[in-house]
């Protein structure tokens, strides 16, 4: 009972962190590191956050001594696996240990590191796994049954075909369930997103191994990828976030998503999700899937010392010791220690089948994976995004407007030419800085207009959001991901729409393809954080708080961009 409460707490903390838009945690417990400690910084896939948090606190409390007699302290930072790869390869992060969700990323990291570092490898080729979980398609049980499961296996090709043919649940005898809504995370940030697009590429080629760059570059594969992506509701930064969206918002929001088995076991735990509307099952696709095997990679960077390496090895040995491995099972992972038998909570009652998967898709070479990522970039679902920017007089304080302009310009740089962008500014009234249309032809003009903005007047927040929402509602859902990004530094003082009216308006559309309103409570001058949170919550998006520090507000915009 105590363990379950702890897990519940972990999930709540994780949810809260996500909701507050905590972007790149610096290892929350850094301040607890003893003086003179040798600090083992580990960037790790956030899927195993609850387990790592639980066991690492105990490790740190042991106060082990390093080879130089200093206390060993582990600073463990949860972060999307693709994102941590980029940060390490770019030199922005210099951790001692990297533990992404999957070893698929290890050869890619080694290849990119070698290219920039005279052929040196970032880490050993086959770092040991610490926990395991198969990549699965999580689906509401009645929906899986409507597709013939469990008697008929469901394949990646089936999911791709339903998605690209724009079939709805009416085609499977359930018109009341509406459209088939599918989702996976953003492959540039999250491992499960990479596995999802690899599986789609395999389905397109009707292969299960020996995928080549030539296969991937075939025009039929591009067409297949584009049509599957059309059916995706939106992307996201982490697999944990996606799971929570699905399990908290129910089958009207998402029919199925690419997740890990451990998240399905969690979903069916009533202590964690007391209001789960229907049971969730893990589908192990017929053609095979991938393992998320959480390798523990000690890095070879110039920042490593013998002392740090030894400390990193001791933490690894601790994670692999039977006691910590047994706890990993309690959190829904299959232990890496083969000597630990599989049992609760990995049972059929919890929607998972420990005798699966029966076969795998082969992990392609690094260059093939790269080709699939590029293919996805060219064929991903496009976004239409309406930026709603506060330019009231108070935006002059703390240099807020200048920072916001700079961050917005960076954000625009992340959008593709085919994406559509509109910008509405508001103070006493709203003004269209640029209408919602394709970015490509107007990119330079928009950047100049943003640069020329200045602050003056009051805060007409709610009306402006309501107007932007109404305008976007005119576009048909499904063709593009639709999002509004609101930044405000003050309390509304000029709108006729009430807070409850805007919340009711947004809550009316519960589907996964609804317009998502991201909000940024900006600066420290009387911003109405509660209002902004209720707006984003009602739409199914995320709210953020940011100071006027340029890097911080840029990071907020970057995080929003992972959604599309």
């Amino acid at each position: 009972m105590r363990r379950i409460s702890l897990m519940l707490l972990m999930v709540m903390v994780t949810t809260l962190v996500a909701a507050c838009g905590d972007l790149l945690p610096t290892g929350g417990d850094e301040s607890l590191a003893p003086d003179n400690a040798v600090v083992v910084r580990m960037l790790y896939g956030s899927e195993k956050e609850a387990w790592i948090e639980a066991v690492t606190t105990e490790f740190n409390n042991q106060r082990l001594e390093s080879t130089e007699g200093r206390p060993i302290f582990v600073e463990a930072v949860p972060i999307g696996s693709g994102e941590s790869l980029d940060l390490i390869v770019n030199g922005q992060e210099q951790p001692a240990v990297w533990s992404p969700a999957s070893s698929i990323l290890v050869p890619i990291a080694n290849q990119q590191w070698a290219a920039a570092n005279n052929g040196e490898l970032l880490t050993e080729e086959n770092p040991p796994p610490v926990v395991l979980s198969p990549v699965v398609i999580a689906m509401w049980q009645p929906m899986a049954e409507a597709l013939g499961w469990p008697a008929d296996p469901i394949s990646w090709a089936d999911i791709a075909e339903i998605t690209r043919s724009e079939q709805t649940w009416a085609d499977f005898g359930h018109p009341e369930w509406g459209p088939f809504q599918f989702g996976h995370t953003h492959p540039d940030y999250s491992n499960s997103g990479i596995t999802a697009i690899l599986a789609i590429a395999y389905a397109a080629t009707e292969k299960t191994r020996d995928l080549t760059v030539a296969d991937v570059q075939h025009s039929d594969v591009a067409e297949f990828m584009a049509s599957v992506q059309q059916g995706v509701i939106h992307y996201g930064r982490s697999t944990g976030f996606f799971g929570r969206q699905m399990f908290n918002r129910g089958p009207a929001y998402l029919s199925a998503a690419v997740l890990y088995e451990n998240l399905v076991a969690e979903a069916n735990n009533p202590e964690l999700y007391p209001n789960l509307p229907l049971p969730v099952v893990a589908i192990y696709p017929e053609e095979g899937t991938f393992w998320s095997d959480h390798p523990y990679a000690i890095l070879n960077g110039p920042w490593m010392t013998d002392e740090l390496r030894d400390a990193s090895e001791r933490y690894r040995d601790y994670l692999l010791a039977p006691e910590q491995q047994q706890r990993a099972l309690e959190f829904g992972f299959r232990p890496a220690d083969p000597g630990i038998a599989i049992g609760e909570p990995l049972t059929m009652e919890n929607g998972v089948d420990p005798t699966e998967p029966q076969t795998l898709l082969a992990v392609p070479d690094a260059e093939v994976t790269q080709a699939v990522r590029e293919l996805w970039g060219e064929n991903k679902k496009r976004v239409e995004v309406q930026v709603v920017l506060d330019i009231s007089g108070s935006m002059n304080d703390e240099g807020r407007l200048n920072s916001a302009k700079q961050a917005l310009s960076t954000f625009i740089g992340q959008l593709a030419d085919e994406d559509e962008l509109g910008i509405i500014t508001f103070s006493d009234s709203a003004a269209v800085l640029t209408p919602l249309d394709p970015l490509g032809p107007k990119r330079e003009d928009v950047l100049q207009r943003v640069n020329g903005l200045f602050a003056l007047g009051g805060t007409r927040l709610i009306d402006t959001v309501a107007e932007a929402y109404a305008e976007m509602q005119q576009f048909p859902p499904g063709e593009r991901i639709r999002a509004i990004v609101v930044l405000s530094d003050g309390a509304d003082n000029a709108s006729s729409t009430s807070p409850s009216e805007i919340v009711n308006l947004l809550q009316a559309d519960e589907s996964g393809r609804s317009i998502k309103v991201f909000t940024i409570a900006y600066g420290s001058g009387g911003v109405d954080t509660d209002l902004l949170e209720s707006i984003s919550e009602a739409s199914g998006a995320t709210s953020y708080e940011s100071s006027s520090d340029v890097q911080e507000i840029e990071q907020v915009y970057r995080d929003i961009a992972t959604f599309f």
Binding site: N126, R209, P338, A341, Q358, V363
Partner: protein, 393 residues
Amino acid sequence: MLRIAQSLAGLYIVVALCVAAASFVGLLVPLGGTAPLPIGIRREPISISIAYGTEKEEWLAAARAEFLATNPRVRGRPIEINLEGVGSREIVRRIIDGDLQPTAISPASSIQIELLRGEWDARNTTPILYDGNDAPQPLVVTPLVVVAWTERAQALALDNPDQIWHNIHDLLASEQGWAEVGHPEWGLAKFGQTNPESSNSGIQTLVLLAYSFHEKVNGLSNADILDADFQAWLDDMQEAVLEFPSSTGTLMQDVVRFGPSKYDFVVVYENLAIESIEIARGRWGDISVYYPPANVLSDHPYAILNAEWVTPEEREAAALFRDFLLSEEVQTRALVEYGFRPGNPNVSFDVAGSPFERFESYGVQRDIAQSVQTPPADVLNELITLWSRRDYD
């Protein structure tokens, strides 16, 4: 004259003290006992290092602890033992390169001993291996086996040892995969072996496959390796391997971790298969053990090095540890607890709790069919070169 007398007297006192100290220590340390060292007399220990193939890590580590607990001594000095687990092929390469200087080595197979002898002799005038009492001696013996998930092995009717490689090959080569035998849900068939560039069992597997293809048990030649039909046949099997681990221990662990999703049939040492039978049941189910029609034995030779970095005391210490490892008690433990066949021919198989009794129903058996002849170094190298060139991994 007086000065000489004083010096002699001084020398006498020193010698007398040494003798007294030695007797004192001797008195306090009964044979095989664990008595503490007498306070005040501290002898510099003799430190030896042993580079060994990781397959026998657990047995060696346990034996080392037991050996040291007997307080063993050479010329009155205590012994320290550093065990360094190194891939069997790597041991040879690193000694030749000069960055590994152990007192003794124990790779998985005599193949590595022969490779070391050949490469060393080409570069040096003094041989690196002793003859006589300190010549390389096998510690334990283990054959290769094919491990398969029982349900799948039964579906393939994998019970005729003479046809085992061909049965497996034909399924691996099939584009229908397991659908050939009525199990489309198992996908394409998958093979498992270690990387022959780094692991002894990987190269042994290739040797067995080559002999099997050419239907012989000795005289494997370069022409056999270069034969186009053999290469095409080998392609079918090697392309059905999803990943080549660098050590056999890791391979067997991965079989239990990832189950039939990743490996349908793997080639591993018998002792590792024996160790895994019970834990596999807790994860995926039963495994079955099969013996190829012709085998290759890993004899885990223990060789003290005749090298400039080994002192006579270290040589003696290494020999004491070897004799301990070959003692009946330690050999029996290798059999019962770790699934190794005894290297000491005087040690009996028929002991209570032997895995050859306990796991008979899983296919573990005492009798091994004939062994293939170990090919000469140039043929082994040709095989590894072929494997590397085909870029299977």
